[in-house]
């Protein structure tokens, strides 16, 4: 009886020790994990979380020209920007801009991708050309288009002249400016979209096409029943990223039009920049930034909700 008791006791102390070692190991692996996360945590905190919180904070204040807070105004900044005609116009322009650029970029890129996926001699050259705009910086591309759009010596107007048409003030005519900026943006985004779509297309198993060939499918039947559905996850990704990018457009606006003429190309990010660094209204600029953030968040959420049903993941 006593022996059994002491055996039980020994067992208990053993279990206790095991428990202690386990606990120690868990703690150690937690610390190790944190050490791996630390660099990105620090970087994110400094360059992302802190500015974000600071922006939310600023959006409730009026500020002086240096950005220091002066008066707490609560929701006033938000109320004001929704009656501000410039901001509302920027909002409308932004949506128009998304509507002009995203569908066209995706359709043109898809077309180029399908062509460039054919097994032909020298196709690599075309793939390089089609994806090359990805390697061009926004600034360089904008300057390049600035010359094309130049009203007197630009290539586009020279062309119109040859055809006997009237020259167009691409970047100065309110009817054309947003269109011109959109064309520039589409051209710039094709490289990235093309590359992603080509990657998606090449990951489709070739035996699906071979099998369809044997069963007697035509080219367009294969395109409609295999390529597009199999590419849908990639298309979904590209569309989401393109919309977010379009919402955040800044560089080409700054170089091509600076928001003009008559605020026709004043997209929301550019309007935020103007509010903060030209008008020195850091409070209301912050409020605009927060509104934009919420808009993008909602758009993306909506897209996932609607898009997910039509996307076929493997």
């Amino acid at each position: 009886m006593r022996m059994a008791n002491s055996a039980l006791e020994a067992n208990e102390t053993f279990m206790y020790q095991v428990e202690r070692v386990k606990k120690k190991n868990r703690k150690l692996s937690f610390i190790k994990g944190m050490l791996f996360l630390l660099p990105s945590l620090i970087l994110f905190s400094v360059f992302l979380f802190y500015p974000m919180l600071k922006t939310i904070y600023l959006s409730f204040f009026l500020t002086d020209a240096k950005g220091a807070t002066t008066v707490f105004v609560g929701w006033d900044n938000y109320k004001e920007i929704f009656t501000d005609s410039v901001f509302l116009k920027g909002m409308k322009n932004t949506f128009l801009f998304v509507f002009y650029t995203v569908p066209l970029t995706v359709i043109i890129s898809l077309f180029l991708t399908v062509i460039a996926n054919e097994k032909l001699k020298g196709i690599g050259v075309f793939r390089t050309i089609f994806s090359s705009t990805m390697g061009v910086s926004v600034a360089a591309a904008s300057v390049f288009w600035l010359y094309l759009f130049n009203p007197t010596m630009g290539l586009l107007n020279k062309f119109l002249e040859l055809l006997g048409a009237e020259s167009i003030g691409w970047l100065t005519d309110p009817d054309w400016a947003l269109f011109a900026v959109s064309v520039t943006t589409i051209w710039m985004n094709i490289g990235f979209t093309f590359l992603i779509l080509l990657g998606g297309l090449q990951s489709i198993d070739s035996s699906l096409y071979e099998s369809a060939d044997i069963e007697g499918s035509s080219y367009f039947y294969k395109l409609r029943r295999i390529t597009i559905p199999m590419l849908s996850p990639t298309l979904f990704f590209v569309i989401t990223v393109s919309i977010i990018n379009a919402f955040q457009t800044f560089g080409q606006i700054d170089i091509l039009t600076q928001g003009g003429p008559a605020n026709e190309t004043n997209l929301i990010v550019y309007s935020i920049y103007r509010e903060a660094f030209v008008n020195y209204q850091f409070g209301s600029a912050s409020a605009q930034a927060i509104v934009l953030f919420i808009f993008i968040l909602l758009m993306t959420a909506l897209q996932f909700k609607l898009g997910e049903r039509r996307v076929h993941y493997q």
Partner: protein
């Protein structure tokens, strides 16, 4: 009438060395024809050339007496089952099966009739509304077969269709495919690297190695009379035991791997040249247990024993080679034990060392192996 005829077919990529060379072959209507060979032997390439997925570099391919070299796959009137099944992940089983019929614009009613027929035959009726990812490997395999069945094409090509299944399912599907082929009267060309599959399924087999035909014939013929060393060692499991051999000056004694001395009745080896080096082969089941037998007994050292339950595989060291014997029943043998083994000269196959060609096959094997009922 031969359904598929290959006349001097060659294949080369970028005008380099030939991948396939001088393939002459004719496949009869309703035949189950198996192409077998190790990986890289060109068997899949040959199948894809018949399907029209690869260009034919030289020679002629005839289907139903018409040269089809220039025809695209869809005009060759055949169906094909791929190794990975090539099912469309975004379509249901039903849509997958009907994919080809819709592409060919077959009438809606006819589509449904064929679908039901195939689904019944393959036991897919319950699964028609599912997506491929919701199916097991065996079910996917059956859907792939269904696609081929509904096409009503008289010629069916299969490219290693069973290699993604586990062993038990594979044995099951072997029987199903074979029954389907007989039931529908299909001409089947079946590619595999598995010689067991080839032996069990084929009416005729073609062994391919490094782009050249090694032998074409019935499974039993390939087993009993392999035309060369490659076929001898490729067909059969465990593989045929091979060893270097030479005759003594008197011509009545054979010495194998400098170890086994076998006296041979000169009548048995009429056609075998006595004055040069040879390779001899003997099947595992022809190395008999030597207990209670008197003639041709050799004591060999057992280096490994595998118990299979109904039979025992014993590996012996013979010179530099490892020979395997397959004995019926259960044997208790220690590692390193000297075991008496009977090696009868009638069962020996003789090959030319240089060319690898068969000189003489086993006498007794030809007479006794096949039992016809």
């Amino acid at each position: 009438m031969s359904q598929v005829e290959l006349i001097d077919i060659t294949k080369s990529y970028d005008k380099q060395k030939d991948v396939l060379n001088g393939i002459n072959l004719s496949i009869e209507e309703g035949e189950f024809f198996v192409l077998v060979g190790p990986s890289g032997s060109g068997k899949s390439t040959l199948l894809r050339m018949i399907a029209g997925l690869e260009e034919i570099s030289g020679g002629f391919l005839k289907i139903n007496d018409q040269t089809v070299n220039h025809l695209p796959p869809k005009e060759r009137n055949l169906s094909m089952v791929f190794q990975n099944y090539a099912l469309y992940p975004h379509l249901t089983v039903e849509q997958n099966i009907l994919f080809g019929l819709k592409a060919r614009k077959v009438e809606k009613r006819e589509q449904q009739i064929r679908l039901m027929e195939a689904a019944e035959m393959l036991g897919l009726t319950e699964l028609l509304k599912r997506k491929p990812r919701e199916l097991s490997g065996g079910q996917r395999q059956r859907v792939a077969l269904g696609r081929s069945v509904v096409s009503h094409a008289p010629l069916c090509l299969m490219d290693e269709p069973l290699s993604n299944l586990d062993a038990k399912l594979r044995a099951n599907m072997r029987v199903q495919i074979r029954r389907l082929q007989k039931q529908l009267g299909l001409t089947m060309i079946y590619v595999t690297h598995d010689q067991v599959e080839a032996m069990t399924m084929g009416d005729r087999i073609m062994v391919l190695n490094e782009g050249k035909i090694q032998q074409v014939g019935k499974p039993i013929t390939l087993y009993n009379e392999p035309e060369n060393l490659f076929v001898a060692s490729f067909i059969g499991s465990p593989k045929m035991n091979l060893g270097n051999a030479a005759f003594f000056a008197d011509g009545n004694h054979l010495i194998i791997e400098n170890q086994l001395h076998i006296s041979i009745d000169p009548d048995v080896i009429m056609g075998v040249p006595k004055d040069r080096n040879l390779k001899v082969g003997i099947r595992a089941e022809h190395l008999f247990p030597g207990e209670s037998k008197k003639d041709h007994i050799h004591h060999l050292e057992a280096v490994n024993v595998e118990q299979l339950g109904n039979e025992t595989l014993i590996a012996f060291e013979v010179g530099s080679e490892l020979w395997t014997a397959k004995w019926p029943g259960q044997w208790t043998i220690e590692f390193g034990q000297k075991v008496p083994v009977q090696i009868l000269p009638q069962y020996l196959l003789f090959f030319d060392v240089e060319t690898g060609q068969l000189i003489q096959s086993a006498d007794i094997g030809k007479l006794r192996e096949v039992v016809t009922i």
